[in-house]
Subunit: 352 residues, 2 copies
Amino acid sequence: MSRPPVPPAKPAGAAVPARITIDDVARAAGVSKATVSRVLNRRAELLTREIAERVQAAIDRLGYAPSPMAQALKRGRSRLIGLVVADVANPFSVAVLRGAEKACRDAGYMVMLFNLGNDDWREREAIQALSSYQVEGFILHTLGQDAGALESAAQRGRPVVLIDRRLGDAQLDLVGLDNAAAVRLAAGHLAEAGYGPLLFVTEPMQGVSSREERAAAFRACLAEAQPARAGAVFESDGVDEAALDAALRALQRQAGQARPAVLSANAVTTLRVAAAAARLGWTLGRDLGLVGFDDPDWAPLVGPGLSAIAQPTDDIGRLAARCLIERIEGQDLAARQILLPGRLVVRGSSRP
Amino acid sequence: MSRPPVPPAKPAGAAVPARITIDDVARAAGVSKATVSRVLNRRAELLTREIAERVQAAIDRLGYAPSPMAQALKRGRSRLIGLVVADVANPFSVAVLRGAEKACRDAGYMVMLFNLGNDDWREREAIQALSSYQVEGFILHTLGQDAGALESAAQRGRPVVLIDRRLGDAQLDLVGLDNAAAVRLAAGHLAEAGYGPLLFVTEPMQGVSSREERAAAFRACLAEAQPARAGAVFESDGVDEAALDAALRALQRQAGQARPAVLSANAVTTLRVAAAAARLGWTLGRDLGLVGFDDPDWAPLVGPGLSAIAQPTDDIGRLAARCLIERIEGQDLAARQILLPGRLVVRGSSRP
DNA sequence: TTGTACGCGTTATCAG
DNA sequence: CTGATAACGCGTACAA
């Protein structure tokens, strides 16, 4: 009668050695679970040397590791961080993801990933799925459409750090690029290099704050320029190639003798502009200046080399993670904004 | 005395509405937890219509969602899948990740991500960290160095699906590219296009099976060719640019009148070769043929357009996930290998 | 048809 | 200094 009923979970043949629990260790060391728990939680100081060592030996011998699930259940701390990414196909997202995942891991957190694939209605789903897993906080590369999506997070008091994009008027930490400065940097460079009228090409705004900020900064740049500069903003949706071609032709006409140039809002649009230039038979740099946000590793090899505003993606990811972890671990500061400077990399596409 | 002691977990000021538990729902609906549980587990058939509806209403009203953590603890099923990626900086990894994450989510699983960043010693760490979270299975883009890393997974009977690369001689499911066929496709194309001696450029083998398979298939191709073709394999480490340049020059000398060509093993090396050609002042296509594995979205825009072997990355990710989930949900088949065909995309870099 | 009671693996509290 | 015991939230035999 001392044998408990056979656990029904055990599927069939395979001798799946059940998880080693704290009980196993306790039994092996001839102590109670509580003692084992103390050894694990750095409270070994309060223990007899002899016992502490005996327990530690048992732990090592059995290869015991506590179950984060059970720990989460008990302490309400899952050591999980939810990472919501607008689109893993976007090189910027991936680069940030990389830095963030590493920083989380270094701090002892695991990352649960949710890719929105640019479907804005999924943002709510993402937050809910993730918070059902008791993630302790979110790093959010939002699509910016659904400011209410954070309700469930906010209600549970889970901190959120935004990356690159604001979300409604929520007072949240934000880590991103200093867009205004970056735009000035690029536009200034194009002016110095002798380019004339400018076209700012962006993906459709759709309420994405970084796009809007860049476009606004672009317009401001034009207005401030000493002899006012001609310029326009074009939203490229990636489908209607003809529209982009037409915009570029219009730009060229407007330029007259001068050389036109494009400032592209991210790597995706940069690729579109480069493709359009190829379609039109234009040589970048000579016929059309081009500077693009983001500096992916293929930038030096497209055409004469693409000039770029390199974002400190790794730092952005890392800082977002650290920022979030600080909050998780108790600090209760006002919402911070960490704006990092972009770095201008000049290549052939902005050298006449 | 009927009031239980104040829960000490509640931090301080902020009225963080504690998680809504099954008990809350039960109380709200005036039933027991068991009944609520039954409603949730599709066993509502055994319940009075009236009660079922009352419970459901309470669930909806309170916005209750069961805690996956507690469920995992109880049933030993976490609905978590561990995704270990060799290097998120590699476009192939990301593309696969994308398909896999979506398929997992569609099947009701969440993905826990671990990026190895090409550090092979981390593979063991990854598996252990992930399995401590009770993931139900692994999708593994392995570095191939540490065949023992899977011990802990195998011991707990967690299924594993490999992507793109084998791991030691373990009998595991594998989803990847039909490398031999793809190499033949590319080499055949280069031959038809009139290129002569071939250089296969790969990242250092380091025991990565897909690299080895591609190199082996390349050598086989050379040997089988009717007039035997000249060719060599070069391992590029990404640091020693001069070595790559030298290899290309040697190839050119060997070519004599004929046109040399390169077959590149992945997007990373393709970029290196393109950069080297630029350094040497060679025009791709005319001076050097180039076909590369992987077809990232920048391929059409580098030089005259890069010919590529496009991998069905989305399918690879999707199938890997489905395959894994099948196993998780009980099927106990022999190890499968799903080899998908590559698609040749001809662009300027392989047109003399 | 529904409710009670127990256990999953931990940690925290309180006795000893 | 150490051990027993009660939760954490859920699923489920078993009893009613």
